[in-house]
Each structure stands twice: as structure tokens, then as C-alpha cells.
Amino acid sequence: MPIISVTNLSKHYSVYKKPPGFLGTVQSLVTRKYEVVRAVDAISFNIDEGELVGFIGPNGAGKTTTLKCLSGLLYPTSGKVSVLGFTPFDRKAAFLKQIALIMGQKNQLWWDLPAIETFLLNKEIYDIEQKRFDTIVHDLASLLDANEFLQVPVRKLSLGQRMKMELIASLIHNPKVMFLDEPTIGLDVVMQKNIREFLKEYNRKYKATIILTSHYMGDVEELCKRVIIINFGKILYDGLLSDLVKKHAPYKLISVVLKEYVDPKTLEGIGELRKFSFPEWIVRVKQNKSNETAAKILKHFPVEDITIEDPAIEDVIREVFSQPDKR
């Protein structure tokens, strides 16, 4: 029994377009042209308990809209959504107590008050005992190295500090299902790593189900075994990250460092040339040809060093994205 099940979910927005300039403004007062944007268009997927799934897609692909539907913020135009056995839009207390939606871009903290005030409020909202509350806040704050900021008004905090407070505020009720929208946006590399470690640990410890969107492939690579790729409101790929590479990028990159200069013309016919600037030489070959080609290179060229690599995940994803809009 999957913990999240989505069947033919669609969400359409109607957006009005204003022609530019003053005349456009006047015109838009009288008549407005509305256009239907299919942010999410009949998508289906299932997610089991304890899974950590990466949701990837370019800006405007429909990721956030999907997360908003899953957490009950949006009323779906059509389709069925079930999370933990609930219909999210009903926003039953029992459902809301088990989920969290964390957005890297906005905050739930009371802007003018110290974060601890928001935590206390959440403690009451989620009905958490004092003892458990103290333990959780202490644990989370130490884990995120944020104890000293608890008493500072939120508006005085830096982006990173605020994000830490945001995470604590969202996790005080120990949610079983977490939707994370760009949780590491704007954070430095050390913090990004801390947050990843933290999420991994949280997922393991509480068997929490996590869906994560991110533009940092690092987040996805390190955390998610399974990815769902979405673009133009449709799912392009749903499966293991490792299979994605095999399926969409069945090639390897051979990078060679040459000992002495060779005429670029002699390189022709060996794989697909990606880069040549002496002494560096990179070719792309079919996955099953990599050994054969490497042997050939070693035999015919003055090689200082040679490595065979998988293509970078960013490149694979870019390749998937660059498929045309089929709507």
C-alpha cells in the first residue's frame, strides 16, 4: 500500500495577460484575456513509506504545484490524490499533523519575533508535550548548529540562519511525510551538506517519506535513489537515478592527457570529440565501447593519463529536459 498515490492529477491556472504600457493597462481594465496554464497535466505516481524521492524539473515545470496539491494547499482541477490515506485538500487535523511542506523561499516564522516564539506556537498547534518539545528543539538546534539564534528576532537573521529556524519550526511535530521545495537554496556548501546529512538521518531514523525538489543535483544525487523528472506538467521519467543514466545517457566520457602534441585530424573516427585543447582530450563513446576505445587510444597515442567516467548527472538531466514540449 503506497503512502502517497497520485492518479491523473491536473492543476490548471487561469492567468490573465496584460499588454505592456499605459494603453495596455487601460485595455486590461476593460477586457482581460485569460489563458489557461496547465501547470500539472494528468500525472500519476506512487510512493512507498520511507522512500526519499527527488523531484526534478526546470523552473515552471510543475514541481511546486504538485507538492502544493500533495500537501492540501491547492484544489486539484482533476484527478485523485491520496496521502497517508487522506485526501489532502480536506485538510483534516490528523493529516496535517503528519506532514510538513518546507519551502526554501518563504517562511512561516513570525517576522518580528524571535524564532522560539514560533516554535512555542507550533508546540501548541501540534499539541506537543513540554518535555518532547525541549528535546526536539535542542536536538534540531544542535544538529543545525543554531542554538544562539533562537532568541533573535527573525528579521535580523541571515538567510542561512533563517532557513535553519525554518527547518526546526517545520519539524517540531515530527512529520511522517515531508515535502521539501528547494531546501538548500541560498545556503553555503557547508550548510548544504549539513542539511543533506540531516535529511538522510531523519529519513533513516523515523522512516519518514520525503519528496524533495532541488536545482542542486548534489542534493538529489546524494539523497535520492529514485527520481521523478517532470517538465511541461508531465512526467518524463520515473525510476532509479542509476537507470536514468543508463537509459538517457548510455555513453561514457574518456578523458586523456597526452604526453606530446598530436595533429587533431588523427583523432577523427575515435568516438565523438567533446574537447581538444592540448594536452587534454575528451571523447564520448557508447557505454559498451568504452573499454575497446580506451585500449585503442592507449595503443595508438602517447598517453600520459587516461580515465573513463560516467557523464555528469547535470548533463543527463539537461538532455532529458531538452526534449521538445509535446503538449
Binding site: K68, L96, Q105, W110, L121
Partner: protein, 264 residues
């Protein structure tokens, strides 16, 4: 219950966080009271009556409605519209709590803040101006006054929320709110006691919800209403409360369907 206490407290703290702006807002209130005070002092010389009000009664009415507007009309519901349009409503929707209760608690926090300032202000005015005031000593009438105020608070709450909910459909919600406040100044009896109006006009206004926010509770306090008139007034106000609750709830549920959680 503790939750809503915490919300009220946070709202209070937030008001304190912007001390200057709050003090200026109160200053505007004081100027308003002073204007009305001096106006009526001039209009109504000592030992005269006008429309059945003597000097003490009219001054009590003016200062009283001003204190009362700090109780009844103080609200944070203007935040609802911007919360909707900036997507902050999402924070609320994600957590298990009642929308109406949440905002009511916020209003109470804001009211508490306003009342404590208003009391100090009026005490200061009283000290300097020594205005003639009418003191109600009948405990039962005082109880009815409190009841009328409570009904007024709830009634105004739904108006505030309803105006905020316009945010689901439009970005421009200050216009309607402004018009509403203009209407209030007149129909709620903020400028003068409504019963000095021609009878037919007054009869009509009595059926509207607005007089039950300021005019009516003040009138009860002054002891100028027969018991039957008090019960009739409270009944009309209660009917309006239920009507407004129904409308507001309906609009809220409609609004949620078109909510786009934008800006997030």
C-alpha cells in the same frame, strides 16, 4: 485554548515590535477624540440639552465610542488579504488549526493592546480636561453593556474577515475596506448619536448591522433604552452575527478552491 492564548500574545508582542508606528496610530486617535470633544463642548453649552442629550451624556458618548472603537474596531484582519496574495496563507493551511479561531485570537491580542493604550489616553484626557461624564452605576445595565459589546466584537470580526477574503479574487482590497470604514464612521455612530437623525432614517439604520458596533452598546451604557429595546437590539445583532458567519464561511470555502498559493 492555550494555543489561542499564544497567538493573542504573539500578536501583542508584534504590535510592540513597531512601537513608533503604534504610537502614531494612537496619536491619531487622540486627535480625533479631542476634535469631537471640543466640537461638542462648543455646540452644547453647560446646562443645555440637544436632541435629548445633556452635556455629560454627549461627552460620555463621544469619549465612550472612542474607547469602544478601540475594543470593537481593533483588528488584524487587514493582514488576511496580503496573506492570501503573498501566499503566506499557506503557512496557516498547512497546520492543524481553525482559520476563524486563529484570526479571532489575533484580533483579541490586538484589541488588548489597543484597550490598554486607550484607557491610559482617556485617563490623561480626563485628568487635564475634567470633562463632565455620566457614570453608570446599575450593575445589570453594565452587564447588558458588556454583552452588547461582546456581540459587537463578534459581528465586526466577520466583517473584517470577509473584507480580507476579497484577497482571493483581487489584489486590491484596501478600497472596499476604506469604503467600509467610511460607512462605519457614519452608520456606527462614531460622529454623533444616531438617534438624533430623523426617525425614518434612524428606523432604517437600526436594521443594519453597523449601529450594533458602537452606537448601540454606548446607548445601553447611558441607560437611555427601555429593557425591551435592549433585547430587541441584541437580537437583531445576533441575527446579523449568524448571517455574517454563514456568508464569511461560504466565501472562505469558495476562496480556498481558487487559492493558488502564489509567491511561494
Amino acid at each position: 485554548m492555550k494555543l489561542y492564548w499564544q497567538i493573542a500574545k504573539n500578536t501583542w508582542d508584534q504590535a510592540v515590535a513597531y512601537r513608533a508606528s503604534f504610537v502614531i496610530y494612537r496619536l491619531r486617535n487622540i486627535l480625533w477624540v479631542l476634535t469631537l470633544y471640543f466640537l461638542w463642548i462648543v455646540v452644547l453649552p453647560e446646562n443645555t440639552t440637544l436632541f435629548g442629550y445633556n452635556r455629560a451624556q454627549i461627552i460620555t458618548y463621544v469619549l465612550g465610542t472612542s474607547l469602544l472603537s478601540s475594543v470593537v474596531l481593533a483588528t488584524r484582519s487587514q493582514d488576511i488579504a496580503s496573506d492570501i496574495n503573498e501566499g503566506n496563507l499557506s503557512n496557516f493551511l498547512l497546520r492543524p488549526m481553525g482559520f476563524f479561531r486563529y484570526h479571532f485570537a489575533r484580533d483579541l491580542g490586538d484589541k488588548a493592546m489597543n484597550i490598554s493604550f486607550a484607557v491610559v489616553e482617556i485617563a490623561v484626557l480626563f485628568f487635564f480636561l475634567r470633562p463632565p461624564l455620566f457614570l453608570q452605576t446599575n450593575l445589570f445595565i453594565l452587564f447588558l453593556t458588556l454583552l452588547a459589546i461582546a456581540v459587537g466584537v463578534v459581528l465586526f470580526f466577520f466583517f473584517g474577515v470577509l473584507l480580507g477574503l476579497i484577497g482571493f479574487w483581487s489584489n486590491e482590497t484596501w478600497g472596499p475596506r476604506f469604503i467600509f470604514y467610511q460607512l462605519l464612521t457614519f452608520f456606527a455612530g462614531n460622529l454623533f448619536p444616531l438617534d438624533i437623525l430623523p426617525k425614518q432614517v434612524f428606523r432604517f439604520i437600526e436594521l443594519l448591522p453597523f449601529p450594533y458596533l458602537l452606537y448601540f452598546p454606548m446607548k445601553v451604557y447611558l441607560g437611555q433604552l427601555a429593557p425591551l429595546a435592549v433585547y430587541k437590539g441584541i437580537s437583531i445583532a445576533v441575527v446579523w452575527v449568524f448571517l455574517m458567519y454563514g456568508i464569511t464561511r461560504f466565501v472562505w470555502l469558495k476562496g480556498l478552491r481558487v487559492y493558488t498559493a502564489q509567491g511561494r
